[in-house]
Assembly symmetry: C2
Homo-oligomer: 396 residues x 2
């Protein structure tokens, strides 16, 4: 199949039907771009720099035409910064997958997956910050009319092997933030991710699950129901086409999308080498605020969070308000009138509850002049903290 020209009539026939239901009313260029992006998503792995360079220079459709040739158009590739040798190697990567493109489109139709591209208003604005690493397209289930991440969005991520503490905190944060209009973005994994999605759904909040495999392949399988429920009111999305298995590489690539879709990332619980640290580093490298929830230092499940606090300058997150602060949203700060460590304290210290003391004795014990002590005793009496009797002063 190497050498197939996808611009040929035969190839077009094989890929009949544009992916999903979107695109009605698009002009021909827009439709061709969408179609080409759908094909690109099936030919190249996430983060394929050569494909990105060709698309950046020539657009998705023209780049595809260049890509599927066995040779030729080296000058145009060079204009995109792709040397002939790189082009040759890239074509060797892409061509073996041409045969399967039709099947991925068919799988998308069966699953009801809808293709989003940067031209769609639903496209997460945050993906723009990924520059050349932005996904070529996004396959979605439940794709709503509204943007994937309207208003504020936070990525709540963490360990699959979360403890009861981690799941509890994930639920508390997701419920409080989800209930107040912040979209909860996560990866649908067991543990922290699942708890965050679930709590958001419970409070009728918006939640978005970004998968490492195709959206028609619920992963993990035990979260099939959860993913169905997310797609009902939120979105389940992936940059790899339907039928794709989630591989370690794709998990790592998917993590950059979680970080980019949200305005801030919070790691709730993570071991020393947890994959969620990868998401955290993506967030940091995108200049996104990063938070980490601390836990007991005796718990290996929190070691990754502490590592982020120490090494990645993550903010210490203890409550939903701390996350709102990360997102630049208004917060209700706890009242704090500061410590009262003044002379008044010294006078109160010098008073007894049972034993009455003269003002002079109080002054001596407090190490204050008699005049100062008398004045402060008067103030404390007004505040109800000291009482004056015939035998002297007492603490209340």
């Amino acid at each position: 199949m190497t050498g197939t020209d996808l611009s040929s009539a035969a190839a077009r026939a094989a890929l009949r039907g544009s992916p999903g239901a979107r695109g009605a009313g698009e002009d021909e260029d827009a439709a061709r771009d969408r179609f080409a992006r759908g094909i690109w998503s099936a030919l190249a792995e996430p983060g394929d720099g050569t494909g990105g360079a060709l698309r950046d220079r020539w657009g998705a459709a023209e780049a595809l035409a260049i890509a599927v040739l066995t040779d030729g158009r080296e000058a145009e590739a060079a204009e995109a910064g792709v040397e002939p040798a790189s082009l040759k190697k890239a074509r060797e990567r892409w061509h073996p997958r041409v045969e399967g493109v039709g099947e991925t489109f068919a799988a998308a139709r069966r699953a009801g997956a809808v293709l989003l591209t940067p031209a769609d208003p639903q496209w997460p604005a945050g993906f723009d910050d990924l520059g050349p690493h932005a996904p070529v397209a996004l396959w979605t289930l439940g794709a709503p009319e509204r943007p994937l991440t309207p208003g504020s969005a936070v990525a709540l991520v963490g360990a699959r092997a979360a403890t009861a503490y981690g799941e509890h905190v994930a639920m508390e944060l997701a419920a409080e933030l989800g209930a107040t209009g912040t979209t909860i973005v996560s990866g649908a994994a067991y543990g922290v991710d699942g708890s965050a999605h679930r709590a958001a759904l419970r409070v009728d909040g918006l939640t978005v699950a970004l998968l490492a495999g195709g959206v028609d392949r619920p992963y993990p399988a035990g979260h099939s129901d959860l993913l169905d429920r997310i797609a009902r009111t939120g979105v389940v999305a992936s940059e790899v086409p339907c039928g794709s298995t989630p591989t370690k590489w794709r998990f790592l690539a998917r993590n950059r999308l979680i970080a980019a879709a949200a305005q801030a990332t919070v790691v709730v619980e993570a071991g020393w080498r947890s994959g969620s640290l990868n998401t955290a580093h993506h967030a940091a490298s995108l200049g996104r605020p990063l938070g980490a929830v601390p836990g007991p230092i005796t718990s290996a499940a929190s070691a990754g969070c502490h590592r982020l606090l120490r090494e990645a300058d993550a903010q210490c997150i203890t409550a939903a308000d701390d996350v709102r602060e990360l997102l630049g949203l208004p917060v209700t700060m706890s009242a704090d009138d500061g410590g009262r460590t003044d002379d008044r304290t010294r006078v109160v210290d010098a008073l007894g509850v049972r034993v009455a003391r003269s003002a002079e004795e109080v002054a001596r014990r407090a190490g204050l002049s008699a005049g100062d002590a008398a004045a402060l005793l008067g103030l404390l009496e007004l505040e109800g903290r000291a009482s004056r009797g015939v035998d002297g002063w007492r603490r209340c």
Copy 2:
């Protein structure tokens, strides 16, 4: 007693005997300075700015001579930046205590307390950073020949109402640091302080307890035995004279000594308004490194630590090595070879454990060129992560 001139022969007689056994062989000026500092400690509360200003300008002995007059020498006070009105008020604070000075010295003799002054080699070097807030003297039990805080010293402080977690962590840190030559400085309170002292003693480490009251008044009473044990190999010290009760004011003042005596302060467990946050802020204002041990965000006993991580730029402390890093001591860093997120990962992803796959199939699944995939398969075979059979490649 107001108006007593302590330089009079009668006053000298009342204060017969220089405090403690130290000072043998001192010249007369040094002896007079030590004597005056002992008296100052009994006349003025910790942090008395007027006394400090007079001593800074005129030395402890001459300042004392000015202090104990009912009037006169205003010009010399003014030269120390003390206005006549301030001097008058200060004298009104100090004079009522003159009567008790003899008794505090007698109590010191009974308790075996030894007076240290900045002239002594045992004086903690860190106190110099307190400038005008440095203590005038230090009453000590167990005063060793060596400095109070030889080499590295860390303040381990925290809540009296510590949880089992807080006490466990305090003990672990104190034992590991104490066993490797770092002096453990703390405040002898219940909870974190006591656990830190106890663990340091258990590993034959040096530990110093700084008290808010007189060293002859073990506080809390339940720690009498512990304080005895500390004084046997370490030091129990206070800037207030024997017979003084620990007041809230003196606790707050004492905290600055804990922070100053150590090169770094670590808060192990602390509620939102714990007094140990006061020690932390002293450490920060002295430019000392500050650490805080995180805990569950569901535990009120860790709220103060999290507050320090958020608001005071405290380092997140998870182990003794983190404290050593704060102290600038050599540490054994955990090995970390970083994540392997390269093409190799993609090839491993593309291999099956049971199903054998051709190199071409692996290349297609990995999205790599056949050449690259073959090269990586060879490398993985050398590493024992892939095996080549007659039917193709498998993951090991």
